[in-house]
Symmetry: C2
Subunit: 201 residues, 2 copies
């Protein structure tokens, strides 16, 4: 049997993934079912099961693929700013997070509410990766406070507040709205500088 | 037939409500079912249906009861600070929100992720009430900016960020942890003053 182009394992997964993201975003994990997923991806249910084993696996892959991309981007961007000190590094951290929440709004929104639908084991695996970016922010704030560049109210409250406001972007950002990535990014950078008591604010 | 104390409509609802909040918090709306609710409330399923009509009604009542209490508290607290100007009013707003997210952690957490499980009509009713407290914050920031008491980066970003960081408290707050309400409240007030560019920061 000759396979037609577009039916290989490699090209089908992105289609399932895209359909899965739309369903997770619009209906939610508990509300969606594999019949809807197959239909949205243009597959029969049995063809779908050739490519994935469960709804939970889909959610896990969507969430970890996204998180890995964000963490890689953060690692690279912060590595490039390694000699620039904590003030520049905070700007970079905020810019990277704003960018991901604006350009990958649906997936970041799903990540903000659906991690508890994962099995305990998978949730723990996800949280270990997630801790890596919380740790980046924590380190930047600690270094800035130690160097006297920042004067945070306290590192934990500031860090939790920054993460909350950045991850909330995917809740209100409207791709049809008037604000572009650049303006949003500038505003969050300016706000973050104030929050840490940066001497560059 | 003589009713025993504790089986009247009035005293049963709080028990159903408390059991419902625990289930919504631990398992989530889609995951829980009415059999579990009846069991947790110490009722038979038919006794349960005497007191409530659906899982969605439970969620709606839990969310709107909470929101009405918060909005009433905000209205009263801000009314008392009506002559004190926007700087004091911002402090009051933050203190009220911190208090509710610490003392009613489970319900505020449920509100942060389950509103989309409501029917469209009920969600809209909920959002209208919710808009009242977003409006309070928006008004305080606008007045403060107009009076020159605040110099926000911009009102919309600042307001969205404040709401995000305050509502996130129910995600990390640990009743067994070292931080009490007073310390948490002081830190968020100090951070909020910085964010609005208050001259009292």
């Amino acid at each position: 049997m000759v396979r037609t182009v577009g039916s290989t394992r490699e090209s089908t997964w992105p289609r399932i993934r895209a359909a899965g993201i739309d369903l997770l975003y619009e209906i939610g994990y508990d509300g969606m079912n594999t019949r809807q997923l197959a239909e949205a991806a243009g597959l029969t249910s049995s063809a779908l099961y050739y490519h994935f084993s469960s709804k939970e696996e889909l959610l896990f892959r969507v969430l970890t693929d996204l998180l890995e991309e964000i963490v890689d981007d953060l690692d690279t961007s912060l590595e490039a700013a390694a000699d620039d000190g904590p003030a520049v590094q905070l700007d970079v951290f905020v810019e990277v997070l704003v960018k991901w929440h604006v350009t990958r709004r649906k997936e970041t929104f799903i990540a903000s509410i659906e991690t508890r639908s994962l099995s305990q084991e998978r949730n723990e695996e996800y949280q270990r990766l997630r801790d890596r970016f919380d740790q980046h922010l924590h380190d930047i704030l600690e270094h800035g406070a130690a160097d006297g560049v920042f004067s945070p109210i306290d590192v934990t409250t500031t860090s939790a507040s920054l993460m909350a406001m950045l991850t909330a972007i995917s809740r209100w950002y409207d791709p049809e709205g008037p604000l572009g990535l650049e303006v949003i990014s500038e505003r969050y950078v300016a706000l973050a500088r104030r929050m840490v008591g940066s001497d560059e604010r």
